[in-house]
């Protein structure tokens, strides 16, 4: 009877699920055109803003009816290298990738992209005209080359210029004049821009920025722009030395620091910036930001949301000496310089359909396709009632042609585009080096720490320089280390396993088991076989491998080299500051988050303990947040924690209570280095109500006689709590503390969700960096298997030490019933 009900239960559940699966799969099998060749393209964002791109793809499909183009339209592969790298290493690479150009040499150096020289040569021999250097802006083409080979064909190009809101300048005309500044022109030099910014910045009653003049890194300037203006180069010409910490670069960074100090500091600026998530509230359009450095892509938003805003454009301001061509700028050709980046199309190694990929790249980068794209986008924009403003491309001729054909009717936009195109000749590109992405990350980190005054510009740059240099050295010195075949550990492992197996078998022989016991043993091992397989294949084997890797330099695509303890030395040596940061972060999360979480769960449980009526209802409410998927919870909390009080749930309450009561301005939460961890703790507390279940069970387990006895002795409620409840619950508290700390050390998911880029800082000023995040970045974005494995063992050691310490301390305060 019991059995029947049991099987019935499972059968019914299974049937329901099977039907659901059938339903969803039946209607969802994508139509497979078996005769067609698939061409997988990554890094293309589909949507209303890329109708032109779609048109190019449709046209390509029309001309090559045997090819079926498949796009990974969502996010992955654009700036995040992790996805692309795992796919290349995992042999499931896409055929074409639309990749940020400055990273090309990085990928090429790791042999992750195919060199295109052979394909180009082949075309020339056949008499068809492939894309060649002469067609492109030289910087763009250079950026896509590595060690003399072409690895990608440039597609889009961009550069940055100064946009200024003429209306805002007019509003403050008298103040500007009083400060000796002309309200009718844009600043040309650094000192001018700072002077203008000072007048144009206004503060609110609690010191928050209401209107800002100029934020050096708003949108897309970065340190690169200002560093190029001082002629700094972050890499020596031979590519072997990192030269970030030069007086010139420090001067550029110092300018950024000053720019932020002038508007009240980086924290305030971030709070101001993070209030503007949507374009319709773009601060430049609504007039709360007077000047910004931005690329041509922002013209679309300007024409849509602020067609009547009186904007002016100018080349980005440069150092005063540069404009005057004094000092080290004497004889300089370009008075104004800017930096240019952009995208390019490449073929990853392991692409299955190289021939069609090359055809597609050639077509997509041809002038014909560029004009087709522009025409399709223009039609689409006109259709939805918007102005079309062409994007810049790296193909010189096509870029000019675009301007001729699609020059915006509005004079100010046409002028802006003209300035962008003219500046293309005076643009600098980021150095073509295999440490390009690291250089970018480190330059962002240096910038962050300098402008938030964690370090002086020179110190910050030095730290960045050291990190970059380490990778350069690792590359150039790799010959010093011996190649090590991966077969060696595999053989050693296999040998050990055989030895172990033989040992176990002989041991069992010696046991002289009775036939019944022998059969039982056989059955037991059969029953355990799933776990045994899992243990050897997914736990023990990987552990041994990981230990081995931690002494090597291994990136999967190239052979491994034995480096001894270097990885561990780096961990506590050159990377120590970075590692320390991640450890302080998890220590903070653990030290504050874990006790608060325990207190929340216990408090809810205490409240619910005696409440019989409505118990189920309250229990459901408090438990629900715990089952919300982590991604959904992050997606929700990013909005709950938005710092703009007109949108963020928490800050909208804050400005109505704490601000008028105590004069505390609302924090920027995730956008502020000091508050981002608190934001995470808050998120954690939301889910901590579920812990009450365990506490409730614990509370129910406390015998009432203890309370009665204590009450008779005249104990007050607080006494009862501290002297009866807490000691009785101490084993559960202990369990939660241990698990909480182990969990905190291994945190990763939430940080990844809140700061998904594996480039740059993790959270402002790396405030959300965790050890596992470092491992993930090194392991899956750069496939530095060796270094990542060393980190993994470091994490293991920490977890072990923490647990041991807690077990040591436990007898001091944990009360076990059995002890008495």
């Amino acid at each position: 009877m019991v059995r029947r009900a049991f099987t019935d239960y499972y059968a019914r559940a299974g049937l329901a699920v099977a039907i659901l699966c059938l339903l969803t799969s039946g209607c969802s099998e994508p139509p497979k055109a078996s005769a067609k060749r698939d061409l997988v393209i990554w890094g293309v964002l589909l949507g209303p803003d890329s109708k032109g791109q779609e048109a190019v793809i449709h046209e390509f499909e029309r001309r090559h009816p045997e090819v079926h183009v498949r796009l990974l339209s969502m996010g992955a592969g654009r700036m995040d290298p992790q996805k692309l790298m795992t796919s290349i290493v995992g042999n499931v690479a896409p055929d074409v990738i639309n990749q940020d150009r400055f990273t090309i040499s990085d990928w090429a150096s790791r042999k992750a992209f195919l060199p295109l020289d052979d394909l180009i040569r082949q075309d020339i021999e056949l008499g068809t005209r492939p894309p060649v250097r002469e067609d492109y802006y030289s910087g763009a083409w250079e950026e896509a080359m590595y060690e003399g080979s072409v690895y990608a064909i440039p597609s889009a190009a961009d550069n940055r210029i100064l946009y200024w809101n003429k209306g805002r300048f007019r509003d403050r005309a008298s103040e500007l004049r009083a400060a000796g500044l002309d309200p009718n022109r844009a600043p040309r030099t650094w000192s001018e821009v700072l002077a203008y910014s000072k007048v144009l910045t206004e503060f609110g009653p609690s010191g928050e920025i209401v209107k800002a003049g100029f934020l050096p890194n708003y949108q897309d300037a970065w340190l690169y722009l200002y560093a190029f203006q001082t002629n700094s180069q972050f890499i020596s010409p031979d590519g072997r030395r990192s030269t970030m910490a030069t007086p010139e670069a420090a001067e550029a960074l110092a300018f950024m620091v000053e720019g932020y100090d002038q508007v009240g500091g980086y924290a305030k600026a971030r709070a101001f910036e993070s209030g503007f998530r949507t374009q319709s509230f773009n601060p430049f359009i609504i007039g709360t930001l007077a000047m910004k450095i931005d690329g041509d892509w922002n013209l679309n938003a300007l024409s849509r949301y602020g067609p009547h805003v009186d904007i002016g454009v100018a080349p980005p301001p440069v150092p005063d000496d540069r404009l005057a061509r004094k000092g080290r700028y004497e004889g300089e050709k370009d008075a104004f310089v800017t930096w240019s980046g952009g995208f390019s199309l490449a073929i990853p190694r392991g692409a299955r359909n190289v021939a069609d990929a090359w055809e597609y790249i050639k077509f997509a980068s041809s002038k014909e396709a560029i004009l087709l794209e522009a025409e399709a986008q223009r039609k689409w924009e006109r259709h939805r009632g918007r102005t079309y403003i062409p994007h810049q491309v790296a193909n010189r001729e096509a870029n000019e042609e675009l301007f001729r054909r699609y020059r915006p009717a509005d004079k100010k936009f046409a002028e802006a585009l003209r300035v962008h195109i003219d500046m293309a000749a005076a643009s600098r590109t980021r150095p073509a080096t295999f440490v390009g992405q690291l250089l970018w990350s480190e330059h962002v980190r240096a910038m962050d720490s300098a402008i938030s005054h964690k370090a002086s510009p020179m110190e910050a740059l030095r730290a960045a320089e050291r990190t970059v240099q380490r990778d350069l050295d690792a590359h150039f010195e790799r010959e010093r280390y011996q190649n090590v075949s991966l077969a060696v550990p595999a053989w050693i492992g296999a040998g050990l396993a055989t030895f172990l197996l033989l040992g176990v078998i002989t041991w069992y022989r010696r046991q002289r088991l009775s036939p019944i016991a022998r059969s039982e043993t056989k059955w037991a091992f059969l029953f355990m076989s799933p776990w045994l397989v899992g243990f050897f294949v997914l736990t023990l084997g990987p552990m041994v491998a990981s230990l081995f890797f931690s002494f090597t330099q291994y990136d999967v695509l190239n052979e491994a080299r034995w480096v001894g303890g270097k990885n561990y030395a780096d961990l506590v040596g050159s990377d120590w500051l970075y590692v320390k940061k991640s450890l302080t972060n998890v220590a903070y999360l653990g030290a504050i988050g874990v006790p608060l979480g325990i207190a929340t769960g216990l408090a809810v449980a205490m409240l619910l303990n005696n409440a019989t009526r409505g118990m189920r209802f309250f229990r459901t409410i408090f438990y629900m947040p715990a089952i919300v998927p982590a991604v959904a919870s992050a997606s929700l909390w990013i909005w709950v924690l938005t710092s703009d009080p007109s949108k963020g749930l928490i800050n909208s309450g804050w400005v109505k209570s704490l601000t008028p009561w105590l004069g505390i301005a609302p924090p920027a939460w995730l956008a502020s280095p000091d508050w981002s961890k608190n934001a995470l703790i808050l998120m954690g507390l939301w889910g901590a109500g579920s812990g009450m279940v365990l506490w409730l069970a614990g509370l129910k387990g406390i015998s009432t006689s203890l309370y009665e006895a204590a009450s008779i002795d005249g104990a007050s409620p607080t006494k009862l709590f501290t002297n009866v409840t807490l000691p009785q619950l101490s084993p559960i508290i202990f369990f939660n503390v241990v698990m909480g700390f182990i969990f905190a050390v291994q945190e990763f998911d939430r940080m990844y969700l809140l700061s998904p880029s594996s480039v740059g800082t993790i959270g402002p000023d790396d405030s959300l960096l965790t050890p596992v995040f470092i491992l993930f970045k090194n392991g899956f974005a750069f496939f530095k298997m060796g270094y990542a494995s060393a980190i993994a063992w470091g994490i293991f050691a920490i977890v072990l030490i923490l647990t041991l310490i807690q077990f040591r301390l436990a007898p001091k305060w944990v009360h076990y019933e059995a002890d008495r």
Binding site: L72, F281, H308, A524, V533, Y623, M624, V631, S635, I742
Partner: protein
Amino acid sequence: MTPTTLHISATILFWSGLAAAFLVLARLARRTPSSSVGTLFLALLALATIAMGNAITFAKSGLQLPLVWPVMPFSAWLAAASFAIALIRTLQTFIQVERAERRARFQAAILWASLGFLMVLVYGLDSENSVKLLTGGIPMSIPLVLAVLGLALAFILVTVATNWSASSRGWPLAVARYASLLVGSVVFGLPFIFLLITSFKEDRDMSSAGGIVWVPRVQQTMPLFDKANPLYEVGHDSQRLKGVVVETLPQNRVRLEILEPKSMQGRTIEAAHSDLKEIPRNAHLVTLPTSAGGGRGAVVRELEDGKRRVRSLTTGEETDFEPAEVEPIREVGLRWQNYPEALSFLPPETRSGLVYLRNTLILVVLSVIGAVISSSLVAYAFARMRFPGRDVLFGVLLATMMLPGAVTMLPQFLVFRSLGWIDTLLPLWVPAFLGTAFNIFLLRQFLRGVPMELEDSARIDGCSYLRSFWSVMLPQIKPALAAISVWTFIGAWNNFMGAIIYVNSPEKMPLSYALQLYMGDRNGEPGLLMAFTTMTMVPVLILFFFAQKYFIEGITLSGFGGR
């Protein structure tokens, strides 16, 4: 006295007075046998301190509840807390009668004090640290005063009622408890409400100067035929498409540019003119400016220069206006279109996200089946079978629970890579079939609790191990199996780390990963994002409501329930 110290002392006076007042009420409520003179004295003292506290701040800024809040770094808080505890322990030293007790208290006091000094040292090391005292107060508006008075009145009433009957002695406490529970559930439930409301809001309501918009409103529309640029509906590949004619072709055919569905937006198709069916557009209703005669109008078209062409509903005249001149007519309502629109941005091969759901379901079902079968089999061997080396193996199993996932993450990737499993769902569910240490441990505990006689009798009847496991033991541990199933379900539904490492193509992505990518792409459109978020959440929440018992009671099975 500086104004700050004055304010601080006023605050302390006020709040201690309030605490005293509460104490008086509590005394009355509990009817503690104490002298009424003492209570009266306390009440007078309370009133006096409240009055004094307010009098000091009142002169400055009107009637308010004075507040003080220290802003200081973590080390300073720790130091303050340590010193406070040390102080309490020192006081206790004097009160304690027993010598041993006294010594223990004294030692504790010294320990805490030294920790406090250590923290002061830590605090001193950081030059940026500073302690600030914020002073202010909650201004007493009329509703606030009424609310406070109402609360006090309610409290007094309850207290009096309690005094009348002995049976309702616990009332004040129960009231306080339920009040806190209610406040707590509002706090915990608010993000959900925010999520739901946001998912039904128009873009315009996403932000407002007055704070969060809690009542969404939607743009009113009316069907409108635009003679100059008619909208057509046409059947194409079993889909209904909406679009406009962009080109007239020979033989009575036309080229149509598609507007809906969104996934085909901007593409053109050819169609016979006879197949087209003119349908009305949903024109937005607006209020016309008084300069143009006022009244209502319908937006005929958005023009390229940003203006809106509006047809007056009274005169039928069409005029071009700046967007700011015409005020949209909106009424309270839910913008449910956010939901279909959110799905329409997904890649076409995912069939409006159904593929994601299918992948997640596959993952969830296989993981649950795998976890239940393999973990119970292994647990059975550990719990009920005797074989040499069992305890050693069990120790190894327990030890693997300690191992951080980070250690095996990279080599596991290489293992699955050599199997050719990258960009498949296999690495996400196959491990479930190999057992999880925690599940095995839990089931073993349970299986050990099943009476031996049951299995013995089955064995005597000639059941094989497999048979007795399946027919006798499994039904006995149903609750534990249910708990494991539920946890595995949640784990698999949320598994996102696995997906970012192993899955690349859209048609293989589970929901969790799809949502993460969606977050990146549609960051600027909270309505769509929240709608998609809600959709990924709903299935788990539904499961939770039906299987609540296993969720909640399952946790208590983890070894502490029957302590």
